[in-house]
Amino acid sequence: MNKIKTIVGKEWSEVFRNRLVLFTVAFLPLIMTAIPLGILFAMRGETGIEAATSDMPEQFNVMCPADLNGGECFQVYLVSQFMLMFMILPLAIPATIAAYSIVGEKVTHSLEPLLATPITTIELLIGKSLAAVIPAIVATWAGFAIYAIGAWLMITNKTVYAALLDSRWLIAIILVGPLMAILAVTFSLMVSSRVNDPRTAEQISSLMIIPVLAVFFGQVSGLFILNRQLIILAALILIIVDGVMVYLAVRVFQREVILTRWK
């Protein structure tokens, strides 16, 4: 356990001196939080958007609570779209940190002395994973908390507030977020082990946000609406995929191959 704590502490000491990582961890959550709050602020007391409800997908109209008028329903719809963008955080933050974690050590020639210590592969990977997952979860949850407080301050209609913070988003943020972070980290660690250029690692790891963007555009275009059942299904699939990815990450991390072939 001490070795894992050491790796986490070492990673944080190193990684938070990197401006790109700092930007991703600090500013991305702020931007993603500011967008839905900005929408809510801009739509406060807006009455001329009743007609806009016709632009919403049919499925969303069905999901909209019955006691909300068209304008309030549109407000909930619009914020829900950006809440999905909020789900990029658990992918983008750990991917940025984890992508650099192994390849960074290769570039600075610190990997071989590290691998020569009695640390096991599992300890090393857990340490590196936690160092990437924890900031992602903290930043996502903190951003969501700020959003929840901001929304509470701005929205007077309790039904609208309840619709904005319904159980699907709580499940998404509290459960799906960490699962997505684990997925991003395991994928990024595998990439980082197998490349020798940090930029390549970051670019390949950033592909992880494509599925979230696909879901975002799918929902915007009305292909489907993320409801509670879909989010629970996504969580279950992610649990299985994460298990497979963790297994693969451990298998892929072979000291010999990394030192001799992917140096």
Binding site: T6, G9, E14, E105, T108, H109, E112, P113, A116, P118
Partner: protein, 302 residues
């Protein structure tokens, strides 16, 4: 203590290390010499359990590679060929990370001990990235020794160091030798190997020869004694050549160069002969080939 039996490492069709059988007793400084690409670093990686052998086996500090890898890593210290540090972190923080990974009992004490021994204590709070190459190398040596390993692998410890820093590192190696540790030293600096090593192995995928530097000289070139005379004559050389224990004798100006196996026993007889022949001897000395000559000869023959 290091012991290998037919240790072999093959990458695809390329054999990097072939049938390496070696015994290095505890407390010995073993110089591992060879040209670039000879397989020296691969051997160090095999013996520190960073890579697995294709064939053969080895024991390090009583543990078997491939079986007791964690114990081996715990009991050895490694200075890699390019020892990277965490440049953004201070020297002290760099060492504290490794002290924790090696489960050092008194990390603060050990860090202070080695930083002081290597003259880095005053710079302990500076980021490692601000260090000169020599200081980084010393910091990497401190890192390799922090957990008091029984065996230390040093891959090019003085390469690219200025003479003063290199001298300090060599003195330090002798100091840790006195503590009874086994030192496996890979170096291209043959003078350094000559000065530090009890035994030397010349390696080029296979071990070409293993012995003490003195015996290697003797094996490769024989021992040569030089007689500086007032006036050397051909007849004297012919007389010496006729002696049964002489391998070779030749004249160079007023010197006679004699190759023989055991000068300690036969020199008095040679001196008696020369004096008896009326030669006036100015000096008698042994001609020492440099280890570089020995090495180049061995590599050429391979």
């Amino acid at each position: 203590m290091i012991s290998t039996q037919n240790l072999t490492k093959q990458f695809g069709t390329v054999k990097a290390v072939e049938d390496l059988s070696l015994e290095i007793p505890e407390g010995q400084v073993f110089g591992f010499l060879g040209p670039n690409g000879a397989g020296k670093t691969t051997t160090v990686r095999l013996l520190t359990c960073l890579i697995a052998p294709t064939n053969g086996t080895a024991r390090v500090n009583g543990f078997t590679i491939g079986v007791d890898d964690t114990e081996i890593r715990r009991s050895v210290g490694v200075l890699t060929e390019t020892p990277g540090m965490y440049d953004n972190l201070s020297a002290e923080r760099n060492l504290s990370i490794y002290a924790s990974l090696y489960e050092v009992k008194d990390p603060k004490g050990q860090i202070e001990k080695y930083l002081r021994l290597l003259g880095l204590w005053e710079r302990r709070n500076d980021p490692a990235g601000a260090f000169s190459k020599g200081m980084k190398q010393k910091l990497a040596i401190a890192r390799a020794l922090l957990h008091e390993p029984r065996t230390v692998f040093l891959d090019e410890p003085t390469s690219a160091l200025d003479p003063e820093a290199a001298h300090l590192v060599r003195e330090f190696i002798l100091e840790i030798k006195k503590q009874g540790r086994t030192i496996f030293l890979c170096t291209h600096n043959l003078d350094e190997a000559d000065r530090l090593c009890d035994r030397i192995g010349v390696f080029k995928t296979q071990m070409l020869v293993v012995d003490s530097p003195e015996r290697l000289r003797s094996q490769v070139f024989g021992r040569k004694v030089v007689f500086h005379l007032q006036r050397a004559e051909e007849a004297l050389v012919e007389g010496i050549q006729a002696m049964s224990f002489i391998k070779e004798a030749r004249q160079v100006d007023n010197k006679i160069l004699v190759t023989l196996d055991d000068p300690e026993i036969h020199n008095p007889e040679l001196v008696r002969y020369l004096v008896g022949q009326g030669a006036e001897i100015q000096f008698v000395g042994e001609l020492r080939h440099s280890l570089e000559d020995v090495y180049l000869q061995l590599i050429k023959n391979s």
